[in-house]
């Protein structure tokens, strides 16, 4: 893990502005899943369109980082850039003539809400041990089997299910009640 991984969003933005390559790598790493999820899950874009959106968003972030007024607001800014680019894609497809978020279906709006909720869970996950982060990510986000996880982490396969349950319990505690 790079030293930039432990920084707050605002600190990370400042590091990127200073031209630190580790800072930029971490910024892309930190928000890549988020941008991808908005494009693919929220707007249901196919791979080709999603890749265009993904690269455009990070290009805009890189070239316009100086225009961000509140460094701690980098995530909502990235979300807004991503949603706008996705809406442009939908409009260019002719699916909708308007390019406002009001054109989104109820289902798409709900899915975008879930992406936000998922990000909050992921932030809570980052506060758990490296082992818990790794196991939960492998099992849920990377769809790895118990056997693959056991082989790659060199732990007994029979303990994977109980480790997942234990880590989920810790994650639940870290999140507290959902409001």
């Amino acid at each position: 893990m790079s030293k930039a991984a432990g920084l707050t969003d605002a600190e990370l933005v400042r590091l990127c502005r200073a031209g630190d390559p580790d800072g930029w790598n971490e910024l892309v790493e930190r928000f890549s899943r988020y941008v991808y999820a908005i494009a693919v899950r929220g707007f249901r874009l196919g791979d080709e369109e999603a890749e265009d959106v993904f690269q455009d968003v990070f290009t805009r972030v890189y070239t316009r980082l100086d225009t961000l007024r509140d460094d701690s607001a980098v995530r909502p800014w990235i979300a807004q850039l991503t949603r706008r680019r996705c809406l442009d894609v939908l409009a260019s497809r002719g699916r909708e003539t308007a390019v406002e978020e009001e054109v989104l279906t109820h289902e798409e709006t709900a899915d975008l809400g879930e992406v936000e909720e998922a990000f909050a869970v992921r932030e809570a996950l980052a506060g758990l041990s490296d082992t818990c982060q790794d196991i939960l990510d492998r099992f849920f986000a990377r769809d790895q089997s118990y056997k693959t996880i056991a082989d790659e982490l060199e732990i007994p396969p029979g303990t994977i299910a109980s480790r997942i349950a234990r880590c989920l319990g810790r994650l639940k505690d870290a999140l507290g009640p959902e409001t």
């Binding site: 031209g19 390559p21 930029w24 790598n25 892309v28 790493e29 890549s32 899943r33 988020y34 941008v35 991808y36 999820a37 899950r41 890749e51 993904f54 690269q55 990070f58 290009t59 890189y62 070239t63 879930e114 992406v115 909720e117 998922a118 990000f119 869970v121 992921r122 996950l125 939960l136 990510d137 849920f140 986000a141 990377r142 349950a165 989920l168 319990g169 994650l171 639940k172 999140l175 009640p177 959902e178 409001t179």
Partner: protein, 84 residues
């Protein structure tokens, strides 16, 4: 409204933020280097009229002849900046 996250719900939410394809992430991480290349090419074009004309005539061939192999997006940006 207050809800308690149960294990099933946490699983659903953890599945939402899947890793983006590795190649996409790598390309985004290489943006600073790509932009340095872009700036270098544009600066050369501004200083060297023959190079600029060659770029305007056939961008990809002119860049390949000089040893540049920029990504498609960088090519688009160079075109945009040369025609500004």
């Amino acid at each position: 409204m207050t809800r308690i996250y149960d294990e099933e719900r946490l699983g659903v939410l953890l599945r939402i933020l899947r890793p983006a394809p590795v190649g996409w992430v790598r390309a985004a991480q290489e943006l600073p280097a790509a932009h340095r290349t872009l700036d270098e090419i544009v600066a050369r074009a501004e200083a060297d009229l023959a190079f600029r004309n060659a770029l305007l005539a056939d961008l990809e061939t002119a860049l390949a002849a000089e040893g540049y192999e920029p990504h498609r997006r960088v090519l688009d940006e160079i075109r945009e900046r040369l025609t500004d």
